[in-house]
Amino acid sequence: MIANEIERYHIPVVQVTSIPQISQGMKVNRIFEGNGITHPFGVPKEKAENERQIRIKMLSEALEMLCH
């Protein structure tokens, strides 16, 4: 809902969520599936540097969604 309200001001939003079904029901335009409710941009079982690289990759994909 916050995503939709921000978009009223012509600002595109990518919502990162691990429960995309809720966002789809709320008609959010751009939904990126996070890696788990408790760590959407995290991969705790990886070493810190690997995790950071994965986060960078995830964020890259999320940013690309802004262009569509």
Partner: protein, 349 residues
Amino acid sequence: MAEKYKVIHYLNQFFGQIGGEDSAYQEPLYKKGPVGPGNLLNSQLENAEVIGTIICGDNFASENPEKLVSFFRQVIADEKPDILVAGPAFNSGRYGMACANLCKSAKNLFGIACLAGLFEGNPAVDLFRTDIDILRTKANAAGMKEAIHNISNVVSDFSNGDLVSDANRNLFFPKGKLKNIFDKDTASDRALHILKLLVKGGEAATEIELPHIVNHEKAVLKKKLSEAEIALVTDGGLVPVGNPERLESRGASKFLVFDITGSEGLQKDKWSINHEGYDKQFVLEDPNRLVPLDALRYFEKTGKIRKVHQQVISTTGVATARAVCEKLGREIGLMLQEQNVDAVILTST
């Protein structure tokens, strides 16, 4: 004596007496007979009994709905139940979604009569009200006794495969389905009557309630990503250690704004989480797992984006009334527009 109808009860890890948020990834399991609130339900049933209980962690159910349905399929094959009772989940979003998803599968895939007990603010109500029978409950477990009482009355009325009857219909959320009835006045007469009332400054109830969720125009990025200023927003309850501005842990009434000028990332000793809806241990270890500031700075340095907006915006997305969400969203949107932000990455938990 007629055989009793067989009821399967679905509970989350908390009401199923497994554990709290620490057990939110509990895989589905099946126990014979009633568990927890199922005992109260069972004691009130006359023509039915709770033959077994499926218990599953809220996070597991949210992230693996198909696995829960597969598990349910196996239970049905073994137990051949007549009815599924899911919850009551009150206002718990993940639990409510799990109940509603399971009921939808029970109904559509397996033809089993089912109901979920939910509070009207639960996101699952708007998403599933037209698909399944949802019994109204209060907002939290203080309403458990009333909910169980209503559920047992509904199950006691069960016959011909239908849980909802004219007698108990008022206990359920309306599906928004139209039912034809005859009225002594024609539609045009009734419309004119309403119009006259409104013109005179009076009030009149609409005959048709408009749908709750309205399509909105998709916002478009008006420049290249490499020229864009990107803001990070979250509803995961990020706060500075000590939560000096007292962001609520549920039912947020406000959002907070933090200046992150010059920060390469979010450092764990400076940030905390005030949010009742998820296990915060992973984000406390590294807040960038919630708000990916370190990664966004990387893209600022490499030129994929022009600039990281100097403020991070945070609120708490749990049991927050829709009207408040909309208000907060508009205030955030207006503020970011005034600050010439081009796009937002919003992280939800």
